[in-house]
């Protein structure tokens, strides 16, 4: 057991972890942040994406002990049901999710992407999200959601229904 301290979603958290536990499991099981999902546990599906020190990482490919001293942002830290972030709002408005299991990873990835590229094209969005597998939506509404968030709701998104 090793004691680690992280700043998670703006709060200092100290927790004892086994050295071989993945960051994803520590977030989920020790810190109760179950918004981060495990879809494949081999770094392909992207459901477990979180931000560590501002970079998007797969939390299934990082040991929790490696996150000691870092700043971690999970989907819970981006907004809450009453104060959704533009990306979260975009997903809701554009029906960018169905079962919602891949959604937290996509929202984290998209949020980071829009910070780097605030005015992307559709294809740029598609490429930026290509490391996140969604099995339900067919991606089109997700792309709409990200573009809507990029434009904060108006111009590039498809016409309102």
């Amino acid at each position: 057991m090793t004691e680690i301290s992280m700043r998670v979603n703006g709060e200092n958290r100290t927790v004892n972890v086994e050295d071989y536990w993945l960051l994803a499991d520590v977030l989920r099981e020790k810190l109760g942040l179950t918004g981060t999902h495990l879809g494949c546990e081999h770094g392909v599906c992207g459901a477990c994406s979180v931000m560590v020190d501002g970079e998007v990482v797969r939390s299934c490919l990082m040991l929790a002990v490696q996150a000691d001293g870092t700043e971690v942002t999970t989907v819970e830290g981006l907004g809450d049901p009453d104060h959704m972030s533009p990306v979260q709002e975009g997903f809701m408005q554009e029906h960018g999710l169905q079962c919602g299991f891949c959604t937290p990873g996509l929202i984290v990835t998209a949020t980071h992407f829009l910070k780097e590229n605030p005015h992307p094209t559709r294809q740029e969005v598609r490429e930026a999200l290509s490391g996140n597998i969604c099995r339900c939506t067919g991606y089109q509404h997700i792309v709409n959601a990200v573009l809507r968030a990029a434009d904060e709701g108006e111009k590039k998104a498809p016409s309102p229904r």
Partner: protein, 756 residues
């Protein structure tokens, strides 16, 4: 307040987008233990020894159990007979009883403080096998040299025939006969959330509570009652947020039974949260058919006859041996006028995981075969691929058109509404728009028709209950894995009750709330639950009317229901809405509730058309989709945005099978690509933006005109993609007869062929 037809946003999205969902794997209960299964590494073997010594002593291990420990509970899993069951299901025992029949079959289970310890202990369990000969390929299995069940003497589990007109004999009268062998691969459903279950037992009440990631709460309840010999009323199954289903979560599985058994035995809450590898090995899979089919047409390309003989690999255990192949046989004729037809399917056991209904459940296979044959026939006759379809589609003037084949509702397949040729023209026109750059790539188009068979499978119950707060609770046995039922069901109820949507609370898939439910599968939920909701409204309002009458000391006949208000006939200022009624009732007044059971006796058929344009690199054979037009008759669209999501998502899942997905086995039954690195599923960069053209025809088969639409995209995509790629590759003479269509598979054909 018209709610039906509005693209209402889903309330659950506030939770799901902010990480506040509650999936089974998120559930934590005090004193909870977690499971990991020891799974067979052999496809076929006798288990000659289990040694848990090393594993048992690991700190944090609570116990390790083999089949002998389960005693009476070691018997094949079961659940109610499926609607079309000419054959008994062949189900596994919760833990393999002496013999394993596919890689990944559970052999023993580890209970531990957490999943890390459980996995490490499972890894340390030693299983001694006597390896037996195995067979994985359906054509090999058909030879009966290696038997999955020696006592049966054959691997052929069943033979099913569908026939109309002169059947195969009529082929002789055709001017052109095209014949081909088609292969549809084994694919894995892969909802993003792997299967999971939490079971807990209350020794005081003797009740078992199970939270499961399932499509059918009652299915799991009845299955657990059977395997554990418990009275059904002692079991409650509740379904929290579920991360996708696609048909493969519509069963009871060994892990459910083991978790429930352990919860009772240990008296502690038990969680099993499966992982991706287990999803590859231990969740029912789909497709895996080989067809040899012939289509005969006359000089003008009009269909004379279709004959098909095909094999269905059902794996080693099969919950519903006939549903998929029977549906394929039924759907082969598609939306066409087809006077003579004969299909025979042999259902074959192999040493592979169960192959069972997966999104489309037989329809994508049928559509692929029929549409490929039509493409061939068009070439043989020398007419366009769209033209041959134009000449054969059922026309409005033919309706109701009965094609003579008995469908899953046990009635002849009957097309009652729609304008099939009109739908085709719409897509042909739409696809014509748009140009391609002159970049040396080969381009081709595919335009195919399909049918979406929806509903026609038994019943659902809807119960409406007026709460003290005025909120109407709506209970059904359906189960949402992303379809957004909470929103759609509330829309239907709010529409008919004339209340705002937030005055309806939908409670789905809790076996304590409705006596029975079939669950969500077969594109049936909107039709079956939707009609049940509407049918529950009238008796519910009648009850309310009686209550209002009592309050007003009037006769119920004088209480009218108008625009969301109860009014007293002839008294202008007497009005009361549901909320006022709820709070006005005396505390000791009986509950206001009403139920309706809607039996969906008639299948609804939605016709659609997909048009695709692809570009193929003539050197590498890399494929890209440049345009994709969809027209999909969805009947009455309760929520157009959610409906669109189902169509797009379904189509991409179909493109998965069309373009990438195939689970491969070696001759010994070892699966060879059980990771997302080697089993590819569609990603965002390659998938197209779909253009949806709407032409909807309310169903004549149910009162509300509803149709399902979750499977049509999956049904159509493979045929459309194959047609377009083949069209693009005409200079190479490539013939696409199997899926997936990969650059490597194209190269394999081109290698021996001629370059343009």
């Amino acid at each position: 307040m018209d709610q039906i037809g509005r693209s209402v946003r889903r309330e659950e999205d506030r939770r799901l987008t902010t990480g506040r969902g509650r999936y089974v794997s998120d559930i934590v209960e005090g004193n909870m233990v977690q499971l990991a299964f020891v799974r067979s590494s052999r496809a076929h073997a006798r288990i000659t020894g289990l040694d848990f010594t090393k594993a048992q002593s690991m700190p944090g291990v609570v116990g390790i159990f083999g089949p002998k420990d389960m005693g009476e509970a070691i018997k094949p899993l079961s659940f109610g007979p499926p609607p079309e069951s000419a054959m008994e299901p062949t189900m596994p025992c919760p833990l393999a009883d002496g013999v394993v029949r596919h890689v990944g079959e559970p052999v023993a289970v580890v209970v531990a403080d957490n999943r890390y310890i459980a996995e490490a202990a499972a890894d340390a369990c030693e299983v001694e096998y006597e390896t037996l000969p195995a067979v994985a390929d359906v054509q090999e299995a058909r030879k009966n040299q290696v038997l999955v069940y020696p006592e049966r003497g054959t691997n052929v589990a069943a033979v099913v025939t569908r026939k109309t007109g002169d059947g195969e004999a009529a082929l002789k009268r055709a001017a052109h006969i095209v014949q081909e062998t088609f292969t549809i691969p084994r694919v894995v459903g892969h909802p993003m959330e792997p299967r999971a279950v939490v079971a807990s037992f209350d020794p005081v009440t003797g009740r078992l509570t199970v939270e499961a990631a399932t499509q059918g709460a009652h299915t799991v309840k009845m299955g657990l009652a059977a395997v554990l010999d418990l009275a059904p009323e002692k079991i409650r199954v509740v379904v929290p947020d579920v991360g996708g289903g696609f048909g493969v979560k519509n069963r009871i599985y060994s892990e459910d039974a083991v978790a429930a058994w352990l919860a009772i035995r240990l008296g502690r809450p038990v969680k099993w949260a499966g992982d991706r590898l287990e999803e590859f090995l231990a969740t029912n899979q789909g497709r895996d058919q080989v067809h040899t089919a012939s289509l005969g047409v006359d000089e003008e390309g009009r269909i004379v006859a279709l004959a098909d003989h095909f094999l269905q690999n059902v794996g080693a255990y099969t919950p519903e041996p006939l549903i998929v192949p029977a549906q394929t046989a039924t759907c082969l004729p598609g939306p066409y006028r087809l006077p003579n037809f004969e299909a025979t399917v042999e259902v074959v056991f192999t040493h592979t995981p169960a192959c069972a209904p997966y999104r489309g459940a037989g329809q994508p296979e049928a559509t692929f075969v029929m549409e490929r044959l039509l493409d061939r026939a068009a070439d043989a006759v020398g007419i366009g691929r769209d033209e041959i379809r134009r000449r054969n589609l059922v026309r409005p003037e033919d309706m109701p058109y009965e094609n003579g084949i008995i469908g899953r509702d046990r009635q002849p397949v009957t097309f009652r509404e729609g304008d099939f040729p009109g739908t085709l023209e719409t897509v042909v026109e739409a696809l014509r728009v748009g140009t391609s750059p002159d970049d040396g790539k080969l381009r081709g188009t595919g335009i195919i028709d399909f049918m979406e068979v929806s509903g026609g499978v038994l019943f659902e119950i809807c119960r409406l209950e007026l709460g003290r707060d005025g909120v109407v609770s709506l209970f059904t046995g359906t189960s949402s894995q992303g379809q957004g039922h909470r929103t759609s069901w509330a829309q239907i109820a709010a529409d008919r009750l004339q209340v705002p949507m937030d005055q309806v609370r939908v409670v789905e898939a809790d076996t304590d709330t409705v006596p029975m439910g079939l669950g969500t599968f077969a594109s049936r939920s909107t039709i079956t639950a939707g009609n049940a909701i509407v049918q529950a409204v009238a008796p519910f309002l009648d009850k309310c009317r009686e209550e209002v009458a009592a309050l007003w000391e009037a006769s119920p006949e004088d209480v009218l229901w108008e625009d969301g208000f109860f009014r007293l006939a002839g008294v202008a200022d007497r009005a009361m809405d549901l909320r006022t009624l709820a709070v006005s009732r005396p505390l000791d007044a009986p509950l206001v509730e009403a139920s309706a059971q809607f039996m969906d006796a008639n299948t609804s058929f939605g016709m659609g058309c997909h048009g695709v344009r692809v570009a193929v690199d003539p050197e590498t054979f890399q494929i890209s989709i440049e345009d994709y037009v969809i027209c999909h008759d969805a009947g009455v669209r309760v929520n157009p945005l959610l409906a669109e999501g189902q169509v797009f998502g379904g189509t991409v899942q179909g493109l998965g099978t069309a373009w990438y997905e195939a689970l491969r086995f070696d001759a010994q039954g070892q699966p060879l690509n059980t990771s997302f690195m080697d089993y590819l599923v569609p990603g965002s960069a390659e998938m197209p933006d779909f253009r949806l053209v709407k032409r909807d025809f309310p169903s004549s088969s149910n009162p509300e005109g509803l149709k399902g639409l979750g499977e049509g995209g999956t049904t159509a995509a493979g045929a459309a993609f194959a047609s377009a790629v083949e069209d693009a590759l005409r200079p190479f003479g490539v013939k696409i007869t199997s899926l997936p269509v990969t650059p490597a598979s194209i190269f394999a054909q081109v290698k021996g062929g001629v370059r343009p």
